[in-house]
Symmetry: C2
């Protein structure tokens, strides 16, 4: 069902220059994927921080006007909780250990990626709601326009941002489309019964959890008719949190979505779900076991161990060419067969 | 600025029958307010639970088909955290100690309320997203239709529901309008520059907080363009959480909104905020000190001490007749002067 690229990882932090000379890149991961001008493009998430001084930890924050502020503390300061490498806590306030922006790379064959010419390859935080960075961008094509849905992080919370572009030079930034706390948002690439659809992952406080919801929109800006279509499953591989990959793939059997699930130990695997073509709030089938688990060295160990996370792919016939972040540190690729996934969901039999 | 009714509390649990003989009402509170057929109406929140057996605690849950399930446990069971009387926790899952529905009462003078005739006075949970109850309904009138925005609580989380009615007999229930975690939603009662507006209170996880956001809509169903207009304030009376009252009052100086704020000790006071008439994302003024604090016996002690919470009022000239829940247990009333509030915000001087 899954065939990893032989040359994985295909992009690591060594392939990219940090955005400042005194910063270092800790991770490149979780690329959005699209086709443009006969090339295959990745919109990477690049996570950086200042070069660390012996005995100290420093982390960066943007200000709304694009300046940078550094927070530094003694690594033995007991008032800081640094047990999760992705985020640190002090006095009940959470800070990201790195700050992320998005970076473009392109390829002629889907395996070898390079810095593009003639366009700016960096997409940065803009405004009040992105001061802790932007992350995990899905790129969906609707009406020949690229729609970038991504995670905005700031003191106001974690929400979903939207930028649009036709040429990757001129961008329109919209206001937040999903209120905190929400992430992992992907648009369906066509209307269903006159409305646009999106999946997203709000999080509950006390009640609820990290579940996947479906919403409708007349204009891709305003969203409503929210319905929970998938909950986490006690004791299973998707026990703790789940979240959508990128835009669902339209098949004759339904909308096929690859999603990630994390278990009790924050081990991230991938599964699949099939949604009804005419009413995608109906779940036709869902993976009992993961379709892909961390097994390779680069998936088992890195910035955050045991992670496979995808938010981008392209499709040719039966083949999904999927790109994914491994161990929150490097970018890898794999091909998957749509029919094999549908068979694993007991939708078809290919014998 | 504030004049409490002399006969407060005006409604207590003794004035209402529980929805089942084996249940008891613990609290009546937080009424939505509207005018209909030349009367003043309250849409109360009634919080009930089974009659408690000596040594045991039991709490109710609805099933999606309207049946009731009771969860019972030994009051000394150490796996249950019952320190907050409003909600209990076990194994990281939160349960409400009571279950709420909405109840209509009407009045000819605004002081004496009675059970209405000829219409059903009970509005109950409906469907998957209300199995732990419905709470704190705002009633807004738009296009001669009553819009009920209320908190839906279920295993899927805490979100905002919407029902509409013209005659209080026939209701339309819409799908969830604001994803979890969100509550305290009130609509503006007219369009501004072609769009509807709402305020709501999403909650952050790790990042962000319990802040007030503004959103726009073309149809009152789909919401977007989310902007945070008010944060909590460190160390002040509105340190821990804030949330809107009901629909803003249109004045020549701006949209006047009464909101609640809770401090570090969960003491709930009321304050005011003035929003720009043409662009309500602009905050013109905000109370430095509360305009109303718990001072009376019925506000200082009850189901949850030190609470004044409002989500309903009607306006005549300069006078706001406001109804509020006191100590999460009883319903009270007070009149406030719009001009006096505007003066407290340093917007006008009335000498």
């Amino acid at each position: 069902m899954v065939k990893r690229f032989e040359r994985n990882p295909i992009i690591t932090k060594k392939d990219i220059l940090p955005s400042r000379e005194d910063w270092v890149i800790e991770c490149v991961m979780n690329p959005g994927v699209f086709r443009f001008q006969e090339k295959i493009w990745l919109l990477l998430r690049v996570a950086e921080r200042p070069k660390q001084k012996e005995g100290y930890i420093s982390l960066p924050i943007y200000t709304p006007d694009g300046q940078t502020k550094i927070i530094e503390f003694d690594e033995n300061d007991p008032t800081w909780d640094i047990s999760d490498p992705r985020k640190f806590e002090k006095d009940g306030v959470t800070y990201l250990s790195t700050i992320s922006h998005l970076r473009l790379m392109c390829s002629d064959d889907g395996f070898h990626f390079y810095k593009p010419e003639n366009i700016t390859d960096v997409i940065q935080s803009l405004g009040n709601y992105e001061t802790y960075g932007i992350e995990d961008c899905r790129v969906c094509v609707i009406n020949e326009e690229y729609h970038l849905t991504y995670t905005q992080v700031s003191e106001f919370g974690v929400g979903v941002g939207l930028r649009k572009t036709k040429n990757w030079i001129d961008f329109i930034q919209h206001d937040m489309i999903f209120l905190p706390h929400n992430k992992d948002c992907a648009f369906f690439e066509e209307k269903i019964n006159g409305l646009y659809y999106a999946i997203s992952r709000p999080s509950g406080v006390g009640f609820g959890g990290n579940f996947i919801w479906l919403s409708t929109s007349p204009d891709l800006i305003h969203w409503g008719n929210h319905k929970c279509i998938m909950e986490t499953r006690q004791g299973k591989w998707d026990h703790q949190r789940i979240g959508a990959g990128t835009s669902p793939i339209k098949t004759i059997h339904g909308w096929l979505e690859i999603y990630h699930g994390a278990d009790k130990n924050s081990r991230y695997c991938l599964g699949a779900v099939l949604l009804d073509l005419n009413n995608p709030s109906i779940v036709l089938a869902r993976s009992v076991e993961p379709i892909m688990e961390p097994t390779e060295q680069y998936e088992l160990e890195g910035f955050f161990n045991n992670v496979i996370f995808t938010n981008g792919h392209f499709v040719e016939g039966d083949t999904i060419t999927m790109y994914y972040g491994a161990s929150d540190e490097v970018i890898c690729g794999a091909t998957l067969s749509i029919n094999a996934i549908l068979e694993s969901l007991n939708i078809i039999s290919i014998g």
